[in-house]
Amino acid sequence: MALTREQIAQRVAQELQDGYYVNLGIGIPTLVANYVPEGMEVMLQSENGLLGMGQFPTEDEIDADLINAGKQTVTMATGASVFDSAESFAMIRGGHVDLTVLGAFEVDVNGNIASYMIPGKLIKGMGGAMDLVAGADNIIVTMTHASKHGVSKLLSNCTLPLTGKGCIKKVLTDLAFIEIKDGKFYLLERAPGVSVEEIVKLTTGELVVTGDIKEMKFE
């Protein structure tokens, strides 16, 4: 079975470490915050200018001056700080964020990522995504492995305009956990009940499969 959105978030959460500063993109990445392991401390960075993002507010706590990068109302966790957007991107571009999780339309074997525009459709913009992929060393891309019509999104070469070049090393799809190095995809783990053959079939870029590929584990 392909992973659900929640399971993708859960699997990403297994990559968190105590004391990590983490930037979570819009969509599935945001859900990762719900699965921070018990007893572990992570601090969420929101690129509009907040470090230490808390949960959504109650009705009484809503504050128009306190939002996240998705423009949602949020709260601040204990020990939070706020700063301007140049400072925020100094943290990101300067490599101070330990883990960045974001979505994509396509990735390829050279670590290229396309996530912000589909030519011919309305182009809304890249927001902070280009800065995030250029600045972070540790990035996990979350995405569906293939389109509804079975067209692979893990390619030899991205077909859409790039968000970043040569910057992605880890991809978690609804079918597999994949590492990118030396111009190839490497299959690390598969979703429970999904066969290696299925993953191979839905991966257009060169995929290396060595030994026994373990299933992902969920609690």
């Binding site: 907040l50 959504f56 128009a64 939002i67 957007s85 913009g125 902070g128 250029a134 970043g164």
Partner: protein
């Protein structure tokens, strides 16, 4: 106004000197921390042909979006746009020029502009459509592109509190691009929720020093929320 007193009493006075085809930098992220009333004043004045530099372009009836119906914006430099129908229409028809700029690069362009730095190298956007036509250079084996800084004829800024000398304090994430825009306007106009006397803001707590600020006005704000999200059971 006298000496360092920057306070003006009307929005007309606050935006005096703004004329057609100028470049205006605006603070704000989404609808958070936007200079609502200064934008309203630009609408009222009917100034046209403006180049707007702002992370976003508001929504149909609020924020910078209200400058669209009468085609007051010629060009917008932003990182994320299109939260409104009229914007989409003008962009698709070519009436509105849009220069998409990565958010961090946009912030740094304003910061650098205000700091007298004409351009800077960044890895952001290398190998993407953003890099087209820009100088590239390697430093320590990594590729960078040269981005030019931005200054505005006007900067319109929203802060929480100001003293009469234009020292500013921002509130929570309403800070965003505001301090950066404040440094990069030839004329920087700030609207605030409260104006206090010099000395009432603790010098250690001031986010933007009054040297960057030309005019201060006290306003009242709607502070519209774009994505009202509340906690139900648990989770962020």
């Amino acid at each position: 106004m006298a000496g360092f007193d920057k306070v003006v009493s009307s929005y007309e006075e606050a935006m005096a000197g703004l004329s057609d085809n100028m470049t205006v930098l605006a603070g704000g992220f989404g609808l958070c921390g936007i200079p609502e009333n200064l934008i309203n004043e630009i609408k009222r004045k009917g100034t046209k042909g403006l180049t707007l530099v702002s992370n976003n372009c508001g929504v149909d009836d609020f924020g910078l979006g209200i400058l669209l119906p009468k085609r007051q914006i010629k060009k917008i430099i932003a990182s994320y746009v299109g939260e409104n129908a009229e914007f989409e229409r003008q962009m698709m028809s070519g009436e509105l020029e849009v220069e998409l700029t990565p958010q961090g690069t946009l912030a740094e362009k304003m910061r650098a502009g205000g700091a007298g730095i004409p351009a800077f190298f960044t890895a952001t956007g290398y190998g993407t459509p953003v890099a087209i036509g820009k100088e590239e250079r390697q430093f320590k084996g990594r590729d960078y592109i040269l981005e030019e800084s931005i200054v505005g004829d006007f900067a319109i800024v929203k802060a929480w509190k100001a003293d009469r000398f234009g020292n500013l304090i921002f509130r929570k994430t309403a800070r965003n691009f505001n301090p950066l825009a404040a440094t990069a306007g030839k004329i920087t106009v700030v609207e605030v929720e409260e104006i206090v006397e010099p000395g009432e803001l603790a010098p250690d707590q001031i986010h933007t020093a009054g040297i960057y600020v030309d005019r201060v006005i006290q306003g009242t704000f709607e502070k519209r929320i774009e994505q009202r999200t509340v906690r139900t059971t648990k989770g962020a």
